[in-house]
Symmetry: D3
Subunit: 242 residues, 6 copies
Amino acid sequence: MSRYDGRENNQLRPIRITKNFTKYAEGSVLIEFGDTKVICNATVEENVPPFLRESGSGWVTAEYAMLPRATASRNKRDINKLKLNPRATEIQRLIGRALRAAVDLEALGERSITVDCDVIQADGGTRTASITGGFVALAMACQRLVEEGVLEKTPLRHYISAISVGIVDGEPMLDLCYVEDSAAEVDMNIVVNDAGGFVELQGTGEHGTFSQEQLHQLLALGEKGNRELQALQKKALDGLEL
Amino acid sequence: MSRYDGRENNQLRPIRITKNFTKYAEGSVLIEFGDTKVICNATVEENVPPFLRESGSGWVTAEYAMLPRATASRNKRDINKLKLNPRATEIQRLIGRALRAAVDLEALGERSITVDCDVIQADGGTRTASITGGFVALAMACQRLVEEGVLEKTPLRHYISAISVGIVDGEPMLDLCYVEDSAAEVDMNIVVNDAGGFVELQGTGEHGTFSQEQLHQLLALGEKGNRELQALQKKALDGLEL
Amino acid sequence: MSRYDGRENNQLRPIRITKNFTKYAEGSVLIEFGDTKVICNATVEENVPPFLRESGSGWVTAEYAMLPRATASRNKRDINKLKLNPRATEIQRLIGRALRAAVDLEALGERSITVDCDVIQADGGTRTASITGGFVALAMACQRLVEEGVLEKTPLRHYISAISVGIVDGEPMLDLCYVEDSAAEVDMNIVVNDAGGFVELQGTGEHGTFSQEQLHQLLALGEKGNRELQALQKKALDGLEL
Amino acid sequence: MSRYDGRENNQLRPIRITKNFTKYAEGSVLIEFGDTKVICNATVEENVPPFLRESGSGWVTAEYAMLPRATASRNKRDINKLKLNPRATEIQRLIGRALRAAVDLEALGERSITVDCDVIQADGGTRTASITGGFVALAMACQRLVEEGVLEKTPLRHYISAISVGIVDGEPMLDLCYVEDSAAEVDMNIVVNDAGGFVELQGTGEHGTFSQEQLHQLLALGEKGNRELQALQKKALDGLEL
Amino acid sequence: MSRYDGRENNQLRPIRITKNFTKYAEGSVLIEFGDTKVICNATVEENVPPFLRESGSGWVTAEYAMLPRATASRNKRDINKLKLNPRATEIQRLIGRALRAAVDLEALGERSITVDCDVIQADGGTRTASITGGFVALAMACQRLVEEGVLEKTPLRHYISAISVGIVDGEPMLDLCYVEDSAAEVDMNIVVNDAGGFVELQGTGEHGTFSQEQLHQLLALGEKGNRELQALQKKALDGLEL
Amino acid sequence: MSRYDGRENNQLRPIRITKNFTKYAEGSVLIEFGDTKVICNATVEENVPPFLRESGSGWVTAEYAMLPRATASRNKRDINKLKLNPRATEIQRLIGRALRAAVDLEALGERSITVDCDVIQADGGTRTASITGGFVALAMACQRLVEEGVLEKTPLRHYISAISVGIVDGEPMLDLCYVEDSAAEVDMNIVVNDAGGFVELQGTGEHGTFSQEQLHQLLALGEKGNRELQALQKKALDGLEL
């Protein structure tokens, strides 16, 4: 009746956000969604990609990778295949779009924030953990810019979080772990801001399709999950209001 | 009031499907969504990727690329950058997932069908054109397997089509062309099968977010578009019933 | 007695030149030599390679590629092998040298014209079709520079065309198709300008060698073929005189 | 008088070895030498490199990498430069040689153990931390092979540890942190086994040279450091005797 | 009146062929055309490329490269650009075709001979020196196969040599050195066998075009040069008759 | 009793240094340690790597490679594997560090000297031959800078040489050839300057470990070898005093 790990269908795994996990990055977070663990480090650099030079606008981007042994069997490093993992390519583009929705790029000015999401242990939901933890690292880096007097006020506009939902054995479930994800008929990642607006919605019928009705059930689950995640983000950020 | 090219908000661009556009591929289609033109060639090969060997199951995959001058300014070829374009990576993974939803991979047997989607002219909607045209090329290749006696009956299970929808200047619109796409607040690609089930749903708030209500409006537009596209696919395939 | 496709030994395949095949390129042509079909797109860019900066001179170059399914079996894309196809390297260097012979690079000024030759269907003679069609695309781009007032008069100096000749079963033949090319004892590509001068001559005894006498027979065939091709180029270019 | 962080010249930084830092690897350790933190994960695979096939012998190898923000400024990922970092190449070859000295490769049988050393924070001594921590991960993986009945007894022959020594402002010092390392006239890495034999000795006069007398002083410091490290390794391995 | 280095127009530079220049290769030659110096090493391997497996036929191929400082300014190594030099690609394909014309591939049996042509000093004519010297290395490797009893008789069918000719300041000249080659209006490489048949003919109007009459003058010069080169090859091979 | 090639344990192989082996490089040397032959070419360029721009300081670096047939069996070229050989990476970093110890980089000014070490025949000791010969090429390039009036006096500070020592069958030996190196229990490379200071010391227990006592024996052998090598360098450099 209950799930693989005893959770209710609408229950998140234990979420932990550890700030300052490493010491050099302008924003550093270890985020854990159960056994999924991702280091999110935000780096501020005083330059922008070529397409933004002289535009007055800044940039936020993300990179995503997994340690070779983040998973049950060892994956060769990208450099040994001379090819960025296609799944990682897809995921880091998603994280980048999601985090850009958190920031007023013009207020950031002509500088870049790169959020590196390195998965040290993967048990499902690495992209949603990366967005959720990456947001906290990004917020820390923005706060640092204010503290150091580089910016007068934070360029952050919105909290952003993300959660996965899916249909497993016909049951809509929140925050799938790896065994659930592997068995899911439908898998959806939902990125929202603190005004409840959808930033990104990616649903895939891996082994089936889904109907409008199922979509609604999934969106409702996702709303609950994201609301809880944003409460945890806010707590980690000492109640930061935007 | 009317759109850039005079269409109604819920109107597709002129869609043309030209079969046998090239002569060697097992399935070959030129698909046009207005000024967007994509060559979709399906190749059957008698082998499968390593992870499927001895599994009894076949594989369907896709590759997506643009000619250097498919767009207003010239893009360097991937090989000159030694890097598969990240956007193309994301798109070809989407096309592959979508087309796999059309086929019973076990009925296909241990062989692969690769659908190459090469964009010769891009005016928005290249990924949806690729899925819609790629399906027809895939179906032709499946029919060829039956005609040649390799398979007793087609491994195709469902028609699959895809259309983009978006919100431009606050207006929900169907099948965005490039200027609309560039200006869209929200952009969504909807892949469905002939039973109306969602195979993939990818919505992005490029310059904003979207609400549940807007989502519904977009899904309704998409339903209309995909119904029309599947009628055109069926006509191109001489009424093929699955 | 007659050839594979019924032609006389000194007869070209049906040649078709379709201008404006795509809409963005400054010059765009689909050229067909029988079943060989190549898209030739010329792009003008306001910069030159490093070795020409501050030289006052412009540059003309070419890139050549085949769609994966331009041939009877599917070829992997270069990017998946991280290596530019060596045959394509050789061919695009030939095309570039040939097209540079058409242009007064100083009159062009410090700008580049890149001619992309993308083979969508290959049935022998892709390099000669690329040169012949590429010239038309190049001429269109030059005319555009004049029409737009960038240049006062065209930097074109000469028509350039190319044709293959070969010895098959001891018979000298013009414009080999793939089955003839595969069986040829000798294969030669002849590039000439409209003054009858040789721009490039590349003869290979694939399965034998050739004598001075055979060389003369081949050159005579080539002269006839190139004369006909240049008449077709001129017609496509509305009688353009240089 | 005292060092940057208050240590005596012959004093190690605080060393911490955390076993089972991740859950999938056959051996997993987080090792800390002060602020230097390295995840060492050992993976057992039932195959060997081509040069050892049918040899009856196994293989032990290592890979070394740093997270982009393990250092004060962000380093681009190797995959984005399409080139394995040369410093990392040199280091991972050293780690591999060092760890092979710990194992009887014939007793291991035709299987491989790969030790991934991923630096999450770098403050000097990452290669010696990697060898010292990598040994513990390797030992855990060997024990697992015994516990699972794959091997009757451990193929480990020796404890292996490594420490850096150097001359800073004329003073020989043990276990250099980053600021010391940057300022060092001489830098040496010493790898020894539990019988006191040198496995590898790499000394470099970065900004000077060193004499035989200085070499002796450095070797004496290294002996002390490695003895302490091996005591900590043994404790972490529950007193494992070899 | 006379040439840059005092030669007659129809005169070769001093040609030197040093056998056994290195000790490991099955055939090893240092060939010098004046100041152009190329090491040609032939390697026999007991395997063939995939397309020849089970065919009973062998293979002959060539690789061509220059040391970084073979020329007046330093060239970066290919590996640092991750790209085989396009000019080298073109040249090594030419060398390979030329040397295959020397050998009965079926008589060679299912084994490969790779001829590495490494230019240590370049002063024009590196490709013709490579073919001429590469032939001697190839012949030595074939003789070795006979001496070792692997083959009963040599699979060599023909001597193969190559020479460059060109038109400089209106004058046809034999064996161009670098300053002549740079100034040449027309440049041609002529590969012939010992029966006088053309194996390959590559003429390029670098800064002009050439007429049939000029072609004849160039071919006559080439005939003289190749006759002299083949006499030197024969002497180096101790009078070997084929 | 005696060694593989009849030498005494403390005897170098015949060493030959041929200056001006090629004609374009600012310094060019062929160095031979017995059958090991390395071309060392030093190139002066009027620029420095990015990290030294505007620093007033110059740079010395090295690249190391082997011809494919420098060894008993053929090695594929790096470019065909798209990967710089890891062993070569390690070696060229060592050569670079060693040669930088010879030069006052500030006195060199903002220019670079690159020393290319290309092994044409390898019989053990290629890295020590590269350092020893590379030093002579470097010194020639420095002298050229003085002769041409670019620098007032040489930026060279010290002679630098390198030799290998090892323990084979329990016997310490100087300057190992390939068969000795393959069988060595311990292998050490010793780089010293003309003041007797160690620039680099790299000892590896390939098939064992070594004690302090063995280390002393090896260092004594190395001292003798390097003294002899520096005498030969000085002779080659016409008695150059620093």
